[in-house]
Amino acid sequence: MATATFRIWRGEKGQGKFLDYTTEVSGGMVVLDAVHQIQAEQAGDLAVRWNCKAGKCGSCSAEINGMPKLMCMTRLNTIPLDKPVTVEPMKAFPHMKDLVTDVSWNYEVKKRIPKFKPRKPDAEDGTWRIAQEDVERVQEFRKCIECYLCQDVCHVLRDHQMHDQFIGPRFLTYAAALEMHPLDVEDRVPELRKEFGIGLCNITKCCTKVCPESITITDNAIIPLKERVVDRFFDPVSKMFRIFSNSKT
C-alpha cells in the first residue's frame, strides 16, 4: 500500500516544531483520515478538533500546505503526495496545542452583535408570511458553518491583529444575515460603521475564496453592508437630515 508523509505542527502555546509522520494512504482518503490514523498509531496525544467529518460542523479548520481548509473535505488526491504535506493550525487565533487554536474570541464577538428582533407577527395565530425568494436571499449567509477560515485568512485579523476593532468576515456575514432577514427590524448600521469596523475591509476577497460553503462573502454580504453605511453616514442629504433630527450616529 502507498504511503505519504505528513508534516504536522506539534507543540503548545505557539512553541513547537514540525514533525514528520509517514502513514499508509488509500483511495478517497481525506487529510483528517490521515491525521486520525497518525493519532491512533503514532501520536496518541495529538490534539485535533473534529466532529462531523462531512463538512457540516466547521470544527477541523487548519492550514494544509499553507491553504486554509477543512481537513475533512480535503481529499488526498487533490494535493501532491510526493513531498510532505504540511498541516498546521490557523494563524489568526492564539495557539493552544498542535492543530488546535483558541477561537473563543469569535464567540465573544457574536454576543456583541444586536440580536434578531422580529416585526410583529403577520397573522393572528402569531405566525409570519414570508416569500420564498426573501428567504433565499439570506439562506446563503445562514449556510455558514462557523469554521472561521474566513477570519483566519483576513489580513486585518491575521496580519494586523486588529481583533479589537474589526469583527471579521464571519461576523459581517452574520450581521448581513440579520440585517437582510425578512422579519428583522433592528438597526445595526451605526455599530457596523464604528465598533464593528466595516471600513477596515478593503475587499480583497480572500475570505470568499476560502469559504468551504462557497458563500459570496464579499460581494453579497460585506459590500451591501458597506453601501448601507455609506448611504446613512456619508450621503449629504441624509447627513443633513440626521443633523436636524438628532438621530444616532
Partner: protein
Amino acid sequence: MADYITHEHDVLIIGAGGAGLRAAVEASAAGVRVAVVTKSLLGKAHTVMAEGGIAAAMANVDDRDSWRVHFADTMRGGQYLNNWRMAELHAKEAPARVRELEAWGALFDRTSDGRILQRNFGGHRYPRLAHVGDRTGLEMIRTLQDHGIHLGLDVFMEYTIVHLLKDGKRIAGAFGYDRERGRFHLFRAKAVVLATGGIGRAFKITSNSWEYTGDGHSLAYHAGAALMDMEFVQFHPTGMIWPPSVRGILVTEGVRGEGGVLRNREGERFMFKDIPPLYANQTATSEEEGWRYTQGDKNAKRPPELLTRDHVARCIRREVREGRGSPHGGVFLDISWIKAKLPNAAEHIRKKLPSMYHQFKQLADIDITQEPMEIGPTTHYMMGGVKVDPDSQMSDVPGLFAAGECGAGLHGANRLGGNSLSDLLVFGQRAGEYAVRYAKENSLASVDNHDLASAEKWALAPFERKSPDNPYSVQHTLQDVMQDLVGIVRTEAEMQQALVRVQELKGRSQHVSADGNREYNAGWHTALDLHNLLTVSEIVTRAALERKESRGAHFRDDFPNKDEQFGKFNIVARKGPNGEVQLTREPIPAMRDDLRQVVEEMK
C-alpha cells in the same frame, strides 16, 4: 473539595445539541443560573448533521394532518413500544416549538402562500417536516445558539463530565475536566439535565461523530437511573459506502422524499418486493403512484422507499446478501432519474439537496444529478436511553433529567425520520421547565469528598500505567465486535460471543495508558470514553439477548417474527448491587382510551 475549580448553578445541562440548548433557553428564560457543558465548541454538536427536517403537524401543506395523525404515525413506527404519553405530548407540542424557532430567527423554506413548507418523510402519512433545504439541523442549532447567548448562560466549551455526584438518592452535581488544560472541575447544581446524544461510536460504520460515546446513558446508569429500550439501535438505510474513508456518512432520507429510488445491480426497484402488512394500506402499488406522491399528489400513496428505516435497511442487506448489491457492497440510490420527469431536474436537485450534492461531489467525485449514489446502512440513532417521567423528563434519580437521544420512550422500537429534531425541541423544553421547577423547590445538595477523590483517581489512572496497549485500539476492536455481532441482524450465539468479547475489552480498558501531558490529550480522552462505550455496549447486547423476537430496529435471525407477548413490555436495565446489569421486563401502561381510539381510527 478546595482542590477543584468549583462552579455553582441552579441547573446544569450536559450537552449542547438541540435538546441541551432548548433546555438551556427554557431554564435561563425562567431566570435561574444555568450552565451548559459541552464536549465540543458551541454549535458543533451532532444536531448540525440533521438534514431532513423537524416533524410537526402544522398542516401547512396538507390540511388533513393533525396531532392525532402524527401521534398514530409515531406509535406505528415504534411498533407500540413507545411511551404513549410522550408520543402524545410530542405530537401536540411540536408545532408550537417550530413556530417559536421562527420567532427566534430561523428561516424555513416556504409554501406559496408564505407559510412554513413541509416535506414528505418515511413513515409520516402527510408532508410534515419543516425544513431548510437539507441543512435543517444547522438552522436549528444556530437559532438556539444565537438566541441562547443573549440569555446569560454560562457555557463551558470543550469540557467533559466523567461522573455524576449524588447526595443520598438525589443529584448533587457533576465532576469533569476541561480539554484545554486537563484541570478538574466540580459543578454543583440543584438539577442536572443530560442531553448528551447517542452511542454511535460503539459501532464501526456510523454517521455519528467522536462525541457519541453514550456518556449520558452511562453516567445515568452508574448514578442509579434506569435505562430502557437499549436493544433498539437504528441503522439508517442510506449511508455513504465509497470511498472507504467516507463510509457511514449520512445520506438524507430527503433524497427519497424528493423522488429518489433504490435499485439493485439488476436495476430492479426491490423495495416493491416486500411491504410489511402494517403499512400495506399506505404504500403505493406502482412506481408511477410513488412518483406522484413525492410530487404532492394527495391521492397517491407513498413509495416503498419511504417505509420505516429499519425495514428499508433490512431490505438493502438482503439484496446485498443475495448477490444483487452494488460493486462496493451496497445498493444504488438514484435521484438523477427524475430528469425523465422534470425539465430542470439537475437544478432542482441542487436546490432541494444542496449539501448532498456538495458531499458526493467533493468526497466521492459523484454528481448526483447525473448518476446514482452507492449507499448502505449506517449506525445512526439510539432509541433507548434514560427512563424518564413522560411529562417532566425526570429519571429515577431525583433532580436528574434526560432529554433528546439519551432519553427513552418517544420512539419505541424505531424512530421515524424527522421525529428526532422535534423530540429535541419538545422534551428539551420540558426538561428545562421541570429542572427549573425542581431547582426552585430544592437547595444545593452536599458533595462527598471521597466520591470526588475517587473520580479524580480513576480519571488520572491512564497516565500512571505503562502498558503498551492503546485506547484507540481497544475502541476499534469494540467497534468491530458490535458491528459484526450486535448489528442489523442478530443471533443468540453471536451476541453471547459479543458479551465475552466486551468483557475482555473491559479488562483491556483498565490497562490502557495515555502518553504525554493532560493538555488537550486525545488519547487520554479516548481512554476515559471507553468506560461509557463499554457500559452501553454490554447493556445493548444484554437487552438484545433478552428480546427473543424481531420488532422495529431489533431483528433476530433466530426469532424472525414479532411476538405479541414481547409487545407488552419494555426491557429496563439497572445497575445491580455488585455492579452487574439487572434486566427487568416492565409492562407498558395501558393506553388512555381516547388515544387508543386514535390509533384504531388511523389503522
